[in-house]
Each structure stands twice: as C-alpha cells, then as structure tokens.
C-alpha cells in the first residue's frame, strides 16, 4: 500500500470534516440537493472510471446500469414489498450480470467500437423498459410512501439523511477504486488499456479482467440508481436510462481526470452545480447552456491539460516538490 503524507491525510481529513458539517451549516435545501447530486454523479463517475479510465473501456451506456439498479429495487419493493436495502444488493447483482452478458461478446471490441456497442446497449435497455408492461413501461414506477426510517430507506422531514447516505456510498466507491487501482487488478487494467497484446504477453487473461472491470462498474452504478429511486420517489426510463446521463458521466470523469481516483469527483463538483444553476437562472431558455459550458470546459482541458483538472492539482504538487 502506498504511504500517505501528513499533508495528504490532513487535506483529506479537513475536506471530509467540511463535507460532514456542510448540511448542518448551510440549511438551504436546494444547495443540499445539489451536493447530493454531486455525490451521486461523483459515484457514477468513479464507477465509470474503473472500466473506462483505468481499463480503457469507454462506456457510453452507464445509464443502463443506473436504471437497472433503480428499477430492480423499486420493482421488488412495489411488487413483493422487499426492503430497498436488499433491493440495493439485488439491483447491483442484476446489473453486474447484465454487464457480464454484454461484456463477454464485446471482449474483443476496443476504443471506438466498444463505445458504440455501449451506446447501442444503453439505448436498447431504455427502449425495452419504455415498452415493458411488467415495469409500467413509459409510465414508470412510483415508490410508495412508507414510514420514515433508515430501514425503509426513506426520509420525509429532511434531506440530511439522504446527504449522509449518498456521501457514504461515494466514499465506499472511492475506497473500492483505491483498492482496485493499487492492486494487481489495477496494474492489469492499465496494461489492458495500453494494449491487449501487452497484457496477454504478460500472462493476463484479458477477457476475465475486462469482465471484472465491467461488473464492478455496473454494480456501483446500480447502487446509485437505487439511491436515486428512494430519493426522488419516482423513476421512468426517460429519467434514469437516458443517453444524456451516460454522456454526462463520461464528461465529468474526463473533465476531472480519467484514470485518477478523485478525478470524477472533482468533475462532478464542477459540472453539476453549473448544470443545476444554469437550469434555475435561465429556465427553459437555458436548456443546453450547461452543455455549452461543458463543451467549452472540455475543449480547454483537452488542449491545455489532457489529464483533467485533477492533473492540475497533481502538477502543482510536483512543482512544489521540485
């Protein structure tokens, strides 16, 4: 394991403390909502990063796993009254299985071809759910009102519990990402990203490791989906399986720094507020303005700092050390 400097530990500690205190100090519910979205997209970005930034499989279909997670737990709750926390795990497993099912035939696809396959996959899932009677097709599923409790994964009086739960989920994703990155798996993912030949010649079972990357990524994305369902209390294919969501996940990871642990979180912290704030200030006229800003930022980053914003911090650190 890497050793941490005093500086790293203190920066992390302070940030964590600030995040824990944030909703107690800032009481505007809307701002808390934005932070919750930042955490959620941060987690989705970290999940994407595991297969995309590290293993080189650029997926534009993450919304499918997000949606499958949301739908699995919600369906089980509504139809069989299964507790959402169990639904959470079930959703993760279903998503992971779907990921394996799509990942295996795509094992030899790389780069652009893989990306196209994921776009197709994401859209197929969305269209299927839009027409599937079992899950109410386009009407979507409404999560039934239940008593407020942690066990029910439902809170009415305040957003605070949702805030802390999503933060915990994000931290879990970051810990998993950290372990992946600093383990044998992490090295093998990075080898696969460089070239299948290099990985194979070093004895790596490329198919197996690609599947692991996809499945872990899918599981974590599905967890975020269940959270979303329990938070917003209504899901439909157009809100949880949209290609635009998948694209946004890729954007925040690339902006923040693909292939780094904290990159997607930074990306989410920048892009989500922009997205939400332009929506408020400009209303309908503002639709798409956030995309314009995204596009501008991505262009800037691609030209000047391809490693993403996290790369900026890393370089500042290096320059100080000489």
């Amino acid at each position: 394991m890497k050793k941490f400097t005093i500086k790293q530990i203190s920066v992390t500690g302070i940030t964590l403390l600030l995040l824990l205190l944030f909703p107690l100090v800032i009481t505007q519910t809307y701002l808390i909502h934005v932070m919750i979205l930042v955490f959620m997209f941060g987690m989705l970005g970290v999940a994407w990063n595991i297969m995309g930034g590290y293993a080189g499989m650029f997926s534009f279909g993450q919304a499918a796993f997000f949606g499958i997670g949301a739908y699995t737990s919600s369906f089980l709750l509504v139809t069989f009254q299964i507790n959402p926390w169990i639904g959470l795990i079930a959703g993760g497993l279903v998503a992971a299985l779907m990921a394996a099912a799509i990942g295996y035939p795509c094992s030899n696809l790389r780069g652009h071809y893989f990306a196209i396959a994921t776009i197709a996959f994401g859209e197929i899932v969305r269209i299927h759910f839009n027409n599937w009677k079992l899950v109410n097709a386009a009407e979507g599923i409404t999560i039934p009102m239940m008593d407020e409790s942690l066990a029910n994964f439902m809170f009415h009086s305040s957003k605070l519990p949702y805030y802390y739960i999503m933060l915990a989920f994000l931290l879990l994703a970051l810990v998993i990402c950290y372990f992946v990155a600093n383990s044998k798996m992490g090295y093998y993912f990075r080898a696969i990203k460089e070239s299948h030949d290099v990985a194979e010649v070093l004895g790596v079972n490329v198919v197996r490791y690609r599947l692991i990357a996809i499945m872990v990524s899918a599981f974590l994305s599905a967890m975020a989906g269940t959270f979303y369902a329990q938070y917003i209390l209504y899901i439909d294919p157009e809100s949880v399986m949209l290609l635009a969501i998948s694209v946004q996940i890729v954007l925040i990871s690339m902006l923040g720094g693909a292939g780094t642990i904290m990159g997607p979180v930074i990306g989410a912290a920048i892009l989500l507020p922009i997205s939400e704030l332009t929506r408020i200030w400009l209303g309908h006229k503002g639709t798409g303005v956030d995309m314009l800003i995204y596009g501008f930022l991505i262009t800037l980053i691609s030209v000047y700092q391809p490693q993403g914003i996290w790369g900026l911090f890393a370089n500042i650190g290096k320059k100080k050390n000489g």
Partner: protein
C-alpha cells in the same frame, strides 16, 4: 545433467486466405540453447512466433513445450506456462513508469505488489535499466524501450524467451550490451529463440540458426554452415557472404 527438449514444432502451417505464411515448419530447441531465426521480411518469422506463443492458431501442426502440447493454447496461458516474448514493434505501457511496467510482468508470479516490486527492481538491475526506473514508458528511447520489453518478459519468469528483432537500430556498443545480456539470460538457465537481421550478432550468440524464406524452413545448422549456404545467400544475405556450400 540431462537437457530436455524445450520446444518442439512439427508440421506447423498457418494460412491467411490463400497465402501460406508458414508452411510445414519442423524444428526443435534444446533447453539452454540460443537459436536464431533469420530470413527476409515476409518470410514468416513473426507469424511463427505468433503461432508458437498463442497469438495465432496454426492451421495444422503441433507445438510442444517441455513435452506438453500447447498448440491451441491462448497467449496468456502460454505465458503462464513459461514462454515469454517481445514484439517486432516494441510495446510497453506508456503511461506507467519503467518500474511499474516490470511490476506488471512480475505480478504473474507474485500476487502482492510489495514482493512483485522487489522482483522488478532485481530484474531492472540485471538488465541495466534500474537508473531509469521512474521514467515513463513514453519517455524512453527505442533502445531503452526494447530493453524494458525484455525486462517485462523476464519478470514473468519464463523458461523460454523469444525475442523479435530486439537488436534493430543499435550501434556496435549497444549490440555488445544486448548480446551480453542475452548470454547472461542463458546462463541463468533460460532457453532463447531470437529473430534477427543483425548478422554479426547472430553469428556470435547462436548455437544454431534456422533460415525461413517464403514461409518455409530452407535451412538449419551451425551459424557458419548457414552463412556459407548458397540458397541462404541468394535469398537473404547478399553477395557479401561468399558461397562455399
């Protein structure tokens, strides 16, 4: 000590559409030998390597490694069994440091990063790249990239090391270094098969030489036998090598 047969290739053929890249190739390599494979571009040397190491599946024939039939095995499985190779166009992991590259190779035999890193440093010292261990793969010169590729291959602890044109573009001094390295590798108990165009090196390091032309093996023998053979001179060596065969 009884030396066993490290690699045996029998009747190996590989077709691409109507073209026979390898046709009915037979040869064997004893443990501890250094065998060179020479021949013009397009003769099928890299194809032969790819068939032996599992990157291509041969259309017919058999490849045995220390008696075990590995003909249909996939590349990563072949590596697991103890055959390592380099590529004609050098491939290293550009975003990783030299050390991390070799650690990736070492992770085949060590599950934890700590011991794998120790092994990697040992190997980098052996191959002479230890001073550059923090350089990124993308920052190396071609000669150093080749050396790194060899280091990565060694990290998988192979019994047979197959080098594809590791000496292209080196000056005499650099060649001497690589040749010494190859001899050191053999002294550690490994067997080597080497594809090369640099005849000075082939002559100096090889126990035996195999010559391919147009997909077929046209000759096999001691280095001096091969360079004096008329057919080899005609196909590959040119008039500077006088015919005595």
């Amino acid at each position: 000590m009884d030396k066993s047969t490290c690699l045996e290739v029998k009747g190996l053929s590989k077709w691409f559409g109507g073209l026979a890249a390898n046709l009915d190739i037979d040869f064997s390599v004893e443990e501890g030998e250094i065998v060179s494979v020479i021949g013009p571009n397009g003769a099928g040397k890299s194809t032969l390597f790819n068939c032996i190491t599992g990157f291509y599946k041969p259309n017919s024939g058999k490849v045995s490694f220390f008696g075990k039939d590995i003909t249909k095995f996939r590349a990563d499985k072949v590596c697991n069994l103890g055959i390592a190779r380099t590529f004609q166009i050098v491939q290293v992991i550009s975003d990783m440091t030299v050390l991390e590259n070799v650690v990736t190779g070492a992770l085949l035999r060590y599950t934890r990063i700590g011991p794998a890193t120790e092994k990697a440093e040992e190997i980098l010292t052996f191959t002479g790249l230890i001073d550059k261990k923090s350089f990124l793969g993308s920052e190396l010169t071609i000669a150093d990239k080749k050396r790194l590729e060899v280091s990565m291959a060694l990290a998988t602890q192979p019994r047979l090391l197959m080098l594809d044109e590791s000496m292209a573009g080196l000056t005499i001094v650099e060649l001497r270094n690589i040749m010494n390295l190859i001899k050191k590798i053999r002294d550690q108990g490994m067997t080597l098969i080497v594809v090369e165009h640099v005849m000075e090196a082939v002559m100096e390091i090889s126990d035996r030489v195999i010559v391919l032309n147009s997909g077929k093996k046209i000759m096999e023998g001691l280095p001096k036998e091969v360079v004096s053979c008329q057919e080899v001179i005609q196909a590959y060596l040119g008039d500077k090598y006088r015919a005595v065969c």
